[in-house]
């Protein structure tokens, strides 16, 4: 599913003209099928408002641009949001706070039953089980347990299972690693890679963690004050140090080191993932230059 956003603007507080704050201002962006796309920017730069447009949680305002996802036209009043949302999963910050059902099975199945009201019970259970296990949990052990009795890490996995249960082709995640400890974060990112390889052809991740963006994303967009200031590969984005700093962001560790070395006259050419950085330094070193 290709996502095309053209000249999108959005103002909060539409009713009272004096209070309007432009949250998005003439934003155009294309996200291709297969992208592991990073959305970066300071808090309040418009990132969240932007991604919530993609599955129609925020509706495109009148005369404020166009959003198209595959053949869904989100400016069209007759757009079938339910069908759209079944194909775009969205994981909010601290997703464990959306758990509500009495059992894990019921909670994970919630989305499935909303999207496919006529689904057969055994088919639903099969899909729920698959989602829970994909998230690294033992389905038979926890299916009848209350989600509130699980540990923090398990809760988050159950919540994510509840989103991926409909096997969305696009998965949008807003700061998904928040509150996880280092090991939890690492495991979670591996989970995302697994999703990307299987059903979620496109992954869009909103994050403050530049190291994560540099390591996992193939493309990214930088937001500042409701506008996009840069779009490209992490290599392109983090090579433009001035823009990154100007947008109130930090450089990933690899890019920061490359910058330091560049200032000393040493040019390291890498795409800012750890492995490419190490390989590039080694190449340089083997050339006897460092």
């Amino acid at each position: 599913m290709r996502i095309t956003v053209e000249h999108l603007s959005y103002r909060y507080g539409e009713k009272d003209k004096n209070l309007t704050v432009p949250a998005l201002c003439d934003v155009s962006l294309e996200i291709n099928e297969g992208d592991f796309f990073g959305i970066i920017g300071k808090t309040g730069s418009g990132k969240s408002t932007f991604v919530q447009h993609i599955n129609g949680l925020i509706k495109v305002q009148k005369d404020s641009g166009k959003v198209t996802v595959a053949d869904f036209d989100l400016t069209d009043k007759k757009c079938d949001y339910k069908a759209l949302r079944s194909r775009i999963g969205m994981v909010f910050q601290y997703p464990e706070y959306q758990l509500f059902a009495e059992t894990v099975k019921e909670d994970v199945g919630f989305g499935l039953k909303n999207f496919r009201p006529d689904i057969k019970e055994d088919e639903a259970e099969r899909l729920v089980k698959e989602a829970v296990e994909l998230c690294g949990l033992n389905y038979d052990a926890i299916k009848d347990v209350s989600p509130f009795d699980l540990s923090g890490g398990q809760k988050r996995r159950v919540a994510i299972a509840g989103v991926i249960v409909s096997k969305p082709e696009v998965l949008v995640l807003d700061e998904p690693a928040a509150g996880l400890d280092p090991k939890g974060k690492e495991e979670f990112l591996q989970l995302l890679v697994k999703f990307h390889k299987t059903f979620a052809k496109t992954i869009i991740i909103v994050s403050h963690d530049m190291d994560l963006i540099a390591e996992y994303c193939n493309r990214a967009a930088v937001f500042k004050g409701g506008r996009i200031t840069a779009v490209g590969t992490p290599k392109e984005i983090f090579s433009d140090y001035e823009n990154v700093i100007d947008c109130g962001l930090q450089l990933p560790v690899t890019a920061a080191v490359v910058k330091t070395l560049k200032e000393k006259g040493v040019n390291i050419d890498c795409d800012f993932t750890v492995n490419s950085f190490v390989a590039a330094v080694k190449r340089f070193k083997d050339g006897g230059n460092l």
Partner: protein, 273 residues
């Protein structure tokens, strides 16, 4: 994040904004009493009350459309009361031969509309010019005498101000949960009333659970800051009556006197009482 402004506080620098919250609460109560003192068919009394509302709104620098807007939320209720009066009043002369709408019915309807409108606009002026916190503090201060009969006034006031403090937080949270469930295909907008109520469960339960968690954490945070009830507690905010409040009291006293006077020497506007 969206700017959630709670309540109807209208920030401005004005005579009324600067008045003591306690004075404003007392004056508002007195105003409601004044409105209820106006006897049937004495519309001049209402005119006096309306004049008071207009005067207050002007001194408070509240745009007039704001005051009018405050009626909107209960407009349905006002219209319903008026319609019921018109339809079911059997007294008075029918307006046309054999008709069921009587002149008294119409006058009564007008009376009810005037009464509710005045009470609501008057009360809205209190909330327009007084922050919820000031209101809570004012109520606490006014209720202080009740401490003598061992009523936990301080605790009530604290509960009230904490509730006020958390309303915007919970509104934000509700918004987020609704969006999260919508993303999972939840539908809050279609189906009959029962279906819609049922659709709210996935919102209400997480909200309830998170409120408990917040309450728990808040209790810890309060304990950590040495909270131990009202015993030996000092108060940072001090309320002081000023000349403004005295003027306010004089004006409201004038209004009540006026209404009582008009009640005695009224001009009959209605017929057939």
């Amino acid at each position: 994040m969206r700017d959630v402004s709670f309540g109807s506080y209208y920030p401005a620098k004005s005579f009324v904004h600067n008045m003591d919250a306690r004075a404003k609460i007392l004056i508002s109560i007195a105003f409601i009493v004044a409105v209820f003192l106006v006897r049937s068919f004495h519309f001049l009394g209402f005119a006096a009350c309306a004049f008071f509302v207009v005067l207050s709104a002007v001194t408070a620098r509240i745009p007039f459309f704001k005051v009018i807007k405050s009626i909107r939320t209960i407009l349905f209720f006002i219209v319903l009361s008026a319609v019921l009066q018109v339809l079911f009043n059997k007294n008075g002369t029918p307006l046309w031969e054999g008709g069921f709408i009587t002149d008294i019915g119409l006058i009564n309807a007008g009376f009810i509309v005037a009464r509710i409108t005045l009470v609501v606009t008057g009360a809205s002026l209190l909330t327009f010019t007084t922050t919820p916190v000031e209101l809570a503090d004012g109520i606490e201060s006014l209720l202080t005498p009740l401490k003598l009969i061992k009523l936990p006034v301080h605790e009530f006031a604290l509960i009230m101000s904490i509730a006020l403090r958390f309303i915007p937080t919970l509104i934000d949270e509700t918004d987020r949960i609704i969006k999260a469930q919508k993303a999972r295909g939840a539908d809050f907008e279609s189906g009959n009333i029962f279906k819609r109520l049922k659709a709210l469960i996935p919102v209400l339960i997480p909200l309830l659970i998170s409120s408990f968690r917040r309450a728990d954490e808040l209790a810890d945070a309060m304990d950590a800051r040495c909270y131990a009830g009202s015993k030996n507690r000092t108060k940072y905010k001090k309320m002081k009556l000023s000349y403004r409040d005295i003027i306010g009291f004089i004006v409201i006293a004038g209004l009540i006197t006026g209404v009582v006077f008009l009640n005695k020497f009224y001009i009959v506007l209605a017929v057939g009482v």
